[in-house]
């Protein structure tokens, strides 16, 4: 009873595998590389012929002259783009409160000009560990420190932040964001560190 089912099962599997597993990805790659070559290859940012990162992938910053992004839970190095990961801490995991406490303390030390609560994205780790964005509020929080370290006027730094604020797609979906890497590169382009 099964005899005339086995051969079609195997051959149909092989034929559909070739179509969906070889021809389809190859065709999409071909179209993508022609129509959207920049995006298809990772939205890479180049400086003097060298890749310095991707506008979609966050990098870690800790110097006082830079804006800081989301904490990253990837291992061993934060923002490891070859092993994405979140912290997976449940709300009551003791290590979560411990980590957030340390980050809040560090934020308060680094930003003596800010008295209020610390923006949530600066002290909680992102889902991918590669989040390239923070909210405009989290960027504003850091303006005083960055301006002081670079010897710039806070108004000028604020203008730069505003210029780098991105709106949600079609103004509806998602939240307003600031791309930390792009903002920091714009700061560097102004010359003073």
């Amino acid at each position: 009873m099964m005899k005339n089912l086995i051969r079609p099962a195997l051959t149909l599997f092989v034929v559909l595998s070739v179509i969906t597993g070889v021809l389809y990805p190859a065709a999409i790659t071909g179209v993508a590389q022609v129509v959207f070559p920049d995006q298809a290859n990772g939205s890479l940012i180049q400086r003097q012929g060298q890749v310095v990162g991707s506008s979609l992938i966050g990098q870690s910053f800790s110097g006082p002259g830079y804006f800081w992004g989301r904490p990253s839970a990837t291992g061993p190095v934060p923002n490891n783009a070859a092993a994405s990961s979140g912290s997976n801490y449940g709300p009551q995991h003791p290590a979560l409160a411990e980590a957030v406490k340390a980050r809040i303390e560090a934020m308060r030390v680094a930003h003596p000009d800010q008295a209020g609560p610390v923006p949530a994205e600066l002290v909680t780790s992102s889902a991918s560990g590669l989040d390239p964005h923070i909210s405009p509020a989290a960027a504003y929080y850091q303006i005083g420190r960055v301006a002081k370290a670079r010897g710039l006027k806070p108004e000028d730094v604020q203008r730069l932040v505003d210029a780098h604020t991105e709106y949600p797609s079609w103004r509806i979906f998602g939240d307003r964001t600031v791309n930390v890497l792009k903002l920091n590169m714009a700061l560097n382009a102004q010359g003073r560190v």
Partner: protein
């Protein structure tokens, strides 16, 4: 719900239903064969394909031959996915030199992708070669979805036909669903995703020179790799500075598109749809959410057309939508509240629960995605479910436990919901003392036995599997979070596997022999333990006459039946799972907000 949540959810449902209607018409024409008759070239391709594989495309298969064909086709897939992982180092398209995957993990992944679960015990970008991603995983993303569509179409034919022996031709159904539905939709969607920034290439991983070098602490080890300790017994740390960032590459968009359209959910990368290379913008996120529920919603309209009464499909769809909206409201509400323990420490509460979320999506689009992916048996995630607030985590767990019938998986969601519809008419029939009928078919003892098997097998796997997991010492070490939340991790894992969802409370170390085998078995029986009874019901229904509507017929096309159907789903789900949920998410919530007045 806040304004943004209402706008995003409302717009989402509007666009979804608007697109599902024409797609449902297309599906009905495609799967009934009407389209191939009208379009000669399409019929020619179909016939050519049947000739190529040596099958008789005209054969009208009785249910057991249909079931055997589906199982054999899936066994071929199981073997292929297993072998490709085990041999990937010797095969081409492995620029990162990924080693062969270990046996238990390869078994788990093979079952996972064949059963449309796409549970992932492995880290994609650090485990799979490009060839494995494409020829093993992308292929199963298509074929497991096609399997679901074929089976639901066979069940719908069971209702629509009278005095018939056959349910249609499995080979033709599988190939039509793949070639004429999934492939064109996925191609369009993949190109759109690349436009938004999803990568699609075969390049080796890229080394970027960091703008600012990063220093971090690691435990120092001796030559044997053992961690060094100082005189006090504390680990010796050393500072490492890195100047580069390795960017993982690959053919992502092609897999991403079908991952969502086929309610598969297995990400190319570990972080899944939270990874900026899988889901870079708010727009890509919206389209991803749409594509998860698109085919499950369209199948409801197809069902209505094929049984000759569109209202029957609308009733099923309305029931799904009602449960869905209620769950969205709870999750958005829960996630909008920041973790009170962190607010106490001085964190701003305005944004809500941002641990494990991406800034570009924010609370609303993350919460909506979490509900959509667990309502459907998709399992893609754009937020880390382990870090959801306890009640939100509880709702997503419960949505899976309901049997993945709130939209559910491609095909499997609708056939699961139709099982509940038969249960609902049976219960109503008992209450009013009439022989239950659904769509003119008498629901008798054989059907009810099969419905019971199909509805009870997943609770058995979920609750049994969880119970064993919390008793076995070697399984307990896999838990990442302590206390009630750790129990939730194990419960979530078995709920996800047995219902073929595939998302995880990802803190759980699932890549262990116990979890690889136990979850592998849960996925297999959760899929085929439902699918085969469904086909048996279809075979039995097809043989029966279709009774004409009389004054004694309970109508199943109006709001009353929506209430009955929603009630049946929720009552079965509540009676089965509330005790287990009370031990996990509910305790977790009460502890978290104890003394907070919340």
């Amino acid at each position: 719900m806040n304004q943004s949540a209402v706008v995003q959810t409302g717009l989402y449902l509007l666009v979804l239903l608007t697109l599902a209607w024409p797609l449902g018409r297309y599906l009905a024409a495609l799967m009934s064969g009407g389209l191939a008759q009208r379009l000669g070239w399409m019929g020619k391709v179909d016939r050519g394909l049947m000739k190529l594989i040596g099958a008789n495309g005209e054969e009208d298969m009785p249910w057991w031959r249909y079931a055997a064909a589906i199982v054999l086709f899936n066994l071929a897939g199981l073997l292929a996915v297993y072998l490709l992982q085990r041999l990937q180092l010797s095969l081409p398209f492995n620029p990162a030199g990924m080693p062969n995957v270990e046996a238990a993990s390869a078994f788990n992944t093979a079952v996972s992708f064949v059963t449309n679960t796409n549970w992932q015990g492995y880290v994609g970008e650090a485990t799979m070669s490009y060839l494995t991603q494409m020829l093993a995983l992308t292929v199963q993303n298509f074929l497991s979805a096609a399997t679901g569509i074929a089976v639901v179409v066979a069940l719908v034919r069971g209702f629509a036909r009278k005095h018939a022996q056959g349910l249609g031709n499995a080979w033709l159904d599988l190939s039509r669903a793949t070639v004429w539905l999934l492939l064109p939709l996925a191609s369009l969607f993949a190109v759109f995703l690349v436009g938004q920034g999803v990568i699609q290439n075969f390049s080796p991983y890229v080394e970027a020179q960091l703008v600012e070098p990063v220093s971090y602490q690691v435990a120092k080890t001796d030559e044997a790799g053992k961690p060094l300790v100082d005189a006090q017994g504390a680990a010796v740390m050393e500072t490492v500075t890195v100047r580069t960032q390795t960017l993982a590459m690959g053919p992502v968009a092609s897999q991403e598109a079908i991952k969502l359209l086929g309610t598969n959910g297995g990400g190319f990368f570990n972080a899944n749809s939270a990874h900026p290379y899988e889901n870079p913008t708010g727009a890509s996120n919206f389209l991803q959410m749409l594509s998860i529920l698109l085919i499950p919603a369209a199948l409801c309209f197809m069902f209505g057309r094929m049984v000759g009464d569109v209202r029957q499909g609308v009733v099923v769809l309305a029931s799904m939508t009602l449960i869905f909206v209620a769950m969205v409201a709870v999750v958005v509400w829960a996630e909008s509240h920041a973790n009170p323990l962190l607010v106490q420490l001085g964190m701003d509460a305005g944004l809500g629960n941002m641990e494990g979320k991406e800034t570009r999506f924010g609370i609303v689009a993350s919460s909506l995605f979490a509900v959509i992916t667990t309502a459907a048996s998709c399992g893609a995630v754009n937020t880390m479910h382990d870090s959801l607030m306890p009640l939100a985590g509880g709702v997503t767990t419960w949505l899976m436990q309901l049997g993945e019938v709130v939209f559910g998986g491609v095909g499997s969601g609708l056939y699961g919901m139709l099982l509940f519809a038969m249960l609902a008419v049976f219960l109503a029939g008992l209450m009013i003392g009439r022989t239950p009928e659904y769509l003119g078919k008498k629901i008798e003892s054989f059907e009810m036995k099969m419905v019971s098997i199909a509805i009870l097998i997943t609770p058995l796997l979920v609750l049994g599997g969880t119970a064993v997991a919390v008793l076995l010492p070697q399984a307990l070490t896999s838990l990442w979070n302590p206390g009630a939340h750790g129990f939730s991790e194990a419960l979530y894992a078995f709920s996800s596997a047995a219902n073929n969802n595939g998302s995880a409370f990802a803190g759980l170390s699932a890549n262990t022999p116990y979890y690889n085998l136990a979850l592998g078995l849960a996925m297999w029986f959760g899929r085929f333990g439902v699918l085969i009874p469904v086909l048996a019901i279809a075979g039995s229904l097809a043989r029966k006459p279709r009774l004409a509507v009389s004054v004694g017929t309970m109508p199943t096309h109006g709001p009353l039946f929506v209430v009955l159907l929603v009630g049946t789903v929720l009552i079965v789900g509540a009676l089965t799972y509330i005790p287990a949920l009370a031990l996990g998410p509910v305790v977790d919530h009460l502890q978290l907000f104890a003394g907070q007045g919340g």
